[in-house]
Symmetry: D2
Subunit: 339 residues, 4 copies
């Protein structure tokens, strides 16, 4: 029997999950969708074959045909949406971040933990990317020895920078590190198995100096010291001319690994008057196309097999705490210690 899933939120990310459930996860059926936007609900029916649509989340949740919900609502609503669904007995997949406020997240984790038979998974899809999994396996097998330093880049393409600047004139993004580095913070914790203790984060605005006034950053860097002195370096940005640059480097006592040293789009190399050119991934849906499918397959498998996924709500809490520390460090230009 296919797992019946309802999705809340049909923005860019919501549509990715909806389409994957509908087309790429054989054991799941996208049964219902919820959005404030009529056009999105129409699209969900037309493109993803959704049977029922809702404008109100609690109405959708009340439908007893649902087994699970996929939460892709605005970040500020995640915790509430999680709690409601858990309390209704539904399995929950929640897009990152789990929440914006750490006390609120802790309260939500209590609800999740009180329902051990329901699956909860957070959308840290990079853990399901084949290249990251290959790297993790090599690290766990000791191929590069003990880790001493991990470097993570997460830089969005320049093509989106101007619209971000316009957005920032009216809204707060939550800060560059919360926005861009939450996956990288999770990678640091996942690869090392250690917690981050001290952070210094800085930034510079050069393409759009107006961002200084708006309290936002175009490019930032954070250096972190982990509990066992392992070092982490994060670079976050919104201005990669060549596309979507997500790169992770692991330095160990016996070797180094780089995941996507160059964000290669595919296996094609072009020789033209520029030189030797490798085309690059242009955005996260392209780069993590397969990872999004694989994380959703894992969610459905967990439900069918009665087990919990590797990515926990606690991972989400730590992501938010460390991102907050980065933001505070930027604002104070000093080292922030995380308890």
């Amino acid at each position: 029997m296919a797992i019946h899933v309802g999705v809340i939120g049909l923005g860019r990310m919501g549509q990715i999950h909806a389409r994957n459930i509908a087309e790429n996860v054989p054991d799941a059926t996208l049964y219902a969708a919820c959005s404030y936007v009529d056009e999105e609900l129409e699209l969900a029916k037309r493109e993803f074959g959704v049977k029922e649509t809702y404008k109100n989340y609690e109405d959708m949740i009340a439908n007893t045909n649902l087994d699970a919900v996929v939460i892709v609502s605005p970040s500020g609503l995640h915790t509430e949406h999680i709690r409601i669904a858990m309390q209704k007995g539904l399995h929950v997949f929640c897009e990152k971040p789990i929440g914006l406020d750490s006390e609120d997240i802790k309260k939500t984790i209590e609800v999740i933990n009180s329902r051990p038979n329901q699956v909860f998974q957070l959308g840290f899809m990079r853990r399901y990317d084949e290249s990251y999994q290959y790297a993790k396996k090599l690290v766990d097998e000791g191929t590069i020895g003990e880790l001493t330093l991990i470097r993570c880049y997460g830089i969005d393409p320049s093509s989106g920078l101007e619209s971000f600047v316009n957005f920032a004139k009216n809204s707060r993004s939550g800060g560059l590190f919360a926005d861009m580095s939450i996956h990288d913070i999770d990678l640091v914790r996942w690869f090392t198995g250690k917690e981050i203790k001290r952070v210094w984060a800085i930034g510079k605005n050069a393409a759009y100096p107006i961002l200084d006034k708006l309290g936002e950053l175009e490019t930032g860097a954070a250096m972190m010291q982990l509990e066992d002195k392992t070092m982490a370096i994060l670079v976050a940005g919104r201005n990669a001319a060549h596309g979507y640059h997500v790169e992770t480097e692991l330095i160990g006592t016996k070797g180094m690994l780089r995941v996507a040293q160059q964000p290669e789009k595919n296996l094609v190399t072009i020789f033209n008057n520029e030189g030797v050119v490798r085309p690059t991934s242009q955005n996260f849906p392209e780069r993590f196309h397969d990872a999004f499918i694989r994380e959703m397959k894992e969610f459905i498998s967990c439900i069918k097999e009665g087990r919990q996924p590797e990515v926990t709500a606690y991972d989400g809490l730590l992501g938010t705490i460390v991102a907050d520390a980065c933001q505070k460090s930027v604002e104070t230009n000093s080292i922030v210690v995380i308890d």
Copy 2:
């Protein structure tokens, strides 16, 4: 309504197609399977959820619940299996080669052509690989100008060479070029849109000189002149120490393209005492994992949408004719002209 598919042949390649139909093509159901081997039929039930199994092809074909058949039987049986299924009114997907004898293939093409409302697709999956499609688009858009030369490598991993030598002691493979280059011949025709007119093919056995006596080749090369003087160079082999090396180069008047210049496994780079290492694809199921899914999705889409796929039976005929010419050229060490 899902398309009901029966598969004939459950060897390595048959299992790949069977699994993809069962797990990765939402609009298709793997309904039946046919094999001489009981264990394979058991596996088809257990792993792929097949409802009915057969030891006899004609019995399976007679099942009126089937819409389509996927033929992965021994190459020598392909044409007969195609004709029988077409005459039963089924849609047919056939693994390469379409056949071994060009007259027999022509007769089969007549049957296929007499049934224009049934879909026929040949398993030239490279055309459905994302990197090849990206390259084809660039070529068709004129990015590299007019093509003057195309170079294709198809080299199997060394890991399989010893068992090939043992196989060759008792059986004929059909020759290196028929075995390894049929996809490359199709790529030459696909990218250039021109036919191959003259061929000279040679080879050398160095790792296993016994192959000389067995009339087989470890490594071979063929140079081809197309009808418009475009040049093609094919290297085929069974002895790539680094894995499965399928590489295609396109030289045009305005630039060059290489597809899989290095058969990179994923996006991971390792820095160790060897130097800077990119792990490589180890075999065709790994390299063309997605292409196999995409070609099967295309087959099912064609059925649902009532259209024919790009890859035709005629493409299969030409592949066999050119591979035969290569083999004849090796045997005579002279240029063979193709009418």
Copy 3:
């Protein structure tokens, strides 16, 4: 007329300079050499054709046949040797660092500045490496826009780590950042044209935990904020399994550059059972072979043409000040502000 050069110090680095003057700089003659070690003086005569050898620096300097001196003595003696030679009217090339104590360096700079007609050059050879010069040109032409972040790696090969540990049991290295990062600090200043204002440096010992007790580091990282908020990240180490890893990345508003993203030894790629392998540079004499020649040619050209080189004593002073700040930051695990 060839410039007559005397060299003080014939260790590994001294021999590199001596050989280059003797064999690769047509306009210079290696006239004299000074060392405490008889074997080194014998070698200088035999291999480099030195006419006169000395065990005492002041004796060599007193030889009126000399036009210039190349100082490759122990770092602690550099400033004194510079002052003596300048006061004798000689042109001076001094290997890095210019000195160990910033007050002492300032005093030396006064002597240098009082002799504007004598050439003084410091051994920041990376500025003379073709790849760095190519990158500098691209940056200066605005190809990548305004710089926002620069990342510098300087990691020695693992092959030398064990002997370093033994060395560290009896001696102080001056610290990882003084030892390894002085070139990187110069690159940061050279590429950005800005001064470093704040530093946080950390480290971790994993391969040889005994280094903790010895007050040394196997791998370290420093994050820096420049006067205009440009960010700099330095990674220094003594344990690169793949060889000598010197890499520099420049992130700008219009693009990124990497110099030696992979420390490729030459243009050879190997395909073997490891995958696709690029052999790597194993040590600094190999990586900067040409740069050492080019910097020495520049020194001799400056003398002949009566001009000063780009690399000044002041650059040396700043290198030492920033390296000191890194070391102090490691010891206090806090941000150090540089005036």
Copy 4:
């Protein structure tokens, strides 16, 4: 004592050798130069410090101050210039090709062989390129097992194509393979140690179809069978959009090597809106800058040490014979057998 060298011919290639002798080969002095062109002789005096200039080759050769001559005259004059110099007792370095007519070359080789105490070296500089020497060492050490196939590309940059077409309207180039592949033919023989027995060569003109009428080729390919069945594939061209593409691949029973798989200019990688870009070598003086110096140093060392270099006149003869066979094959579109 420095070896006194005279150079005949001061075109592009002649100036490269002249400058190297003057500036980069410490044991040699560029003593004399010979050219029909006054401006070139002026340049030789001004830039290379030549002491004596000549408009007549025999006059220069008669100067008893000369130890050696470097022949960079038009190809049609090479053999005569070699014979005259050898008979005068001079050591001879001759740019490739050794000659245009194989009987004439054989006669010249007799003269060379009759003077075993005089050094004769042919300008196959690739053998002195560090990457080629590294590859040769790996092959000779057996790293990739027994060679089965060698692939050589020699493609000039597009930037020179239009002027070639204009040149071809009035003059004969000797043919694409003689012009571009002579170094590749030498590499095939050098790496394999075997002779080429059968050749089929073809070509296509697409950018400038007028080349068909002029009997010239824009791009060509030759497949060769060696005496032990080793295969060789040569691609020659005049139209590489990305620059100067000289690439050599060696396929063996235990691995593959590629020299300059990508003609990387230096160690810089650019990330811009094209993707990830490696700039490329633009012409042979850039690509083989060091190799030209190293071959000249070897010539001078041979003279000083009384030995002969690895590259012999016989290698030159074979290069010309095989290039002739390629040309004949193109003209007849058939396999040409070499005795």
